[in-house]
Symmetry: C2
Subunit: 255 residues, 2 copies
């Protein structure tokens, strides 16, 4: 039973291609500039980015920003909202490969074959800045800092995936959930949110798909962690009651 597609039957994901050029993006002014592409650029360099990142696009919850197989032309910087990326096979198996939030870049997967290799679906109403790859490419030949930064971003994505592989390959359910929550909170914290609370933007099923667990296991494990006093769960709001113990959990060895 391939739940994912049937579950959404009521609101089929469709690729969203509205022509949204109304608001000019301006990296140099953006309040995410310390998180996003402009990090480390001088005022002047950031202004050059502005020419490049010319359009924004808004994507409604459940809609795809791009899909596996779509021609690759641009990457996207998330301005607001949250996305999930997922890979899928012919037979309907799929796997969430990550959740992305404001300031993060998606679409890097498309460079390799000039087509996107995964789907990017908004899990809440979101807005992205469109970054045409060809132009970024050109500009980064003139602005070494930008090139450097772009490479860094790709490299970090590789490293991030390494740690997901570690999680999927060697952690037990409890540890996976702990690592997941800590990671989320840490990223929210960088964005100025609480270091103790997170609102999960994704369903238990999506969390499960990401962590290599079934949704029931996710639910049960959250309950168990709550019972043990490490977190408290009310719906999608999770409070970390004992981050230290959560952290210890994933650093305390394979067993």
């Amino acid at each position: 039973m391939t739940i994912c597609s049937t579950a959404r039957a009521g609101r089929p994901e469709k690729v969203n291609h509205p022509i949204v050029a109304d608001m000019r993006a301006a990296c140099s002014q953006c309040n995410l500039r310390e998180l996003c592409l402009p990090v480390g650029l001088t005022e002047e360099e950031a202004t050059r980015l502005d020419q490049l990142v010319s359009t924004r696009r808004s994507v409604k919850k459940g809609d795809a920003l791009f899909r596996h197989g779509d021609p690759f032309t641009s990457m996207y910087a998330i301005r607001s909202g949250t996305f999930k990326t997922r890979v899928n096979t012919l037979d309907g198996r799929d796997q969430v490969t990550g959740f992305q939030m404001a300031g993060e870049l998606i679409g890097l997967d498309g460079i390799g074959t000039s087509r996107h290799a995964c789907d990017a679906v908004a899990i809440e109403d979101s807005e992205v800045c469109v970054i045409p790859y060809a132009r970024l490419s050109e500009l980064s030949m003139e602005v070494p800092v930008l090139q450097r930064h772009f490479h860094r971003l790709m490299s970090r994505e590789i490293v991030r995936e390494h740690s997901v592989m570690l999680l999927l390959g060697s952690m037990r359910a409890e540890e996976r959930i702990a690592a997941f929550l800590l990671n989320l909170v840490q990223r929210m914290q960088v964005r100025g949110f609480s270091s103790k609370e997170v609102v999960l933007r994704m369903t238990r099923e999506e969390i499960g798909s990401f962590l290599g667990l079934k949704l029931e296991t996710v639910s049960r494990t959250l309950s168990k962690l709550a019972e043990d006093g490490m977190i408290s769960v009310q719906q999608r709001l999770v409070r970390l009651e004992d981050s230290a113990r959560l952290r210890a959990m994933i650093e305390s060895g394979p067993r």
Copy 2:
């Protein structure tokens, strides 16, 4: 029991830093040029690569080419032999993130933080070409094809890791092993080897670490596939007796 480090106690992995500048590498002449960095470059462009890839280094079986935490200066193109890359945590948990063979590039993980994020260990006597990142960076600002190609390589690494995540997150032991074998054979085939046979360069334990399984499970699963007539196993030599069925296995849905 953290087997990996104790198991190698007799021959501790040490970082290998011999000054091997004897043989000049020449991308333009290399018989791997259709697989490696020079793909798609003109004669002239490939000759410019030669200036860049100036040294080779040989790494003995069991030795590390680089280790987690080492300053990042170069990437490496494998000339001969095989490597594994692995991430590890403080507590001794580790996870093989991939096996790399001739023509493949390793070390991309280091760009992000200027330090390597994983270990690269030779699993047989190997030789690599050293590609200083700073120089590649410069050169790719002048040779757009090279820049493009470099981006492509990083992107493909991201996509490759997506598929490993799919494997780790949603496949059962049999499917993982099938996917692993098919992938190996396919890569060997590109390099001119048989499409039916592979010599596994890695131990069952290393395969297990990569696939998120215990070595016993790897062994048992190989035996089972052999019993079912899909492969035959003699030691490290594996023959694919029925690739179609192996392929069907991983395309036939989650269950």
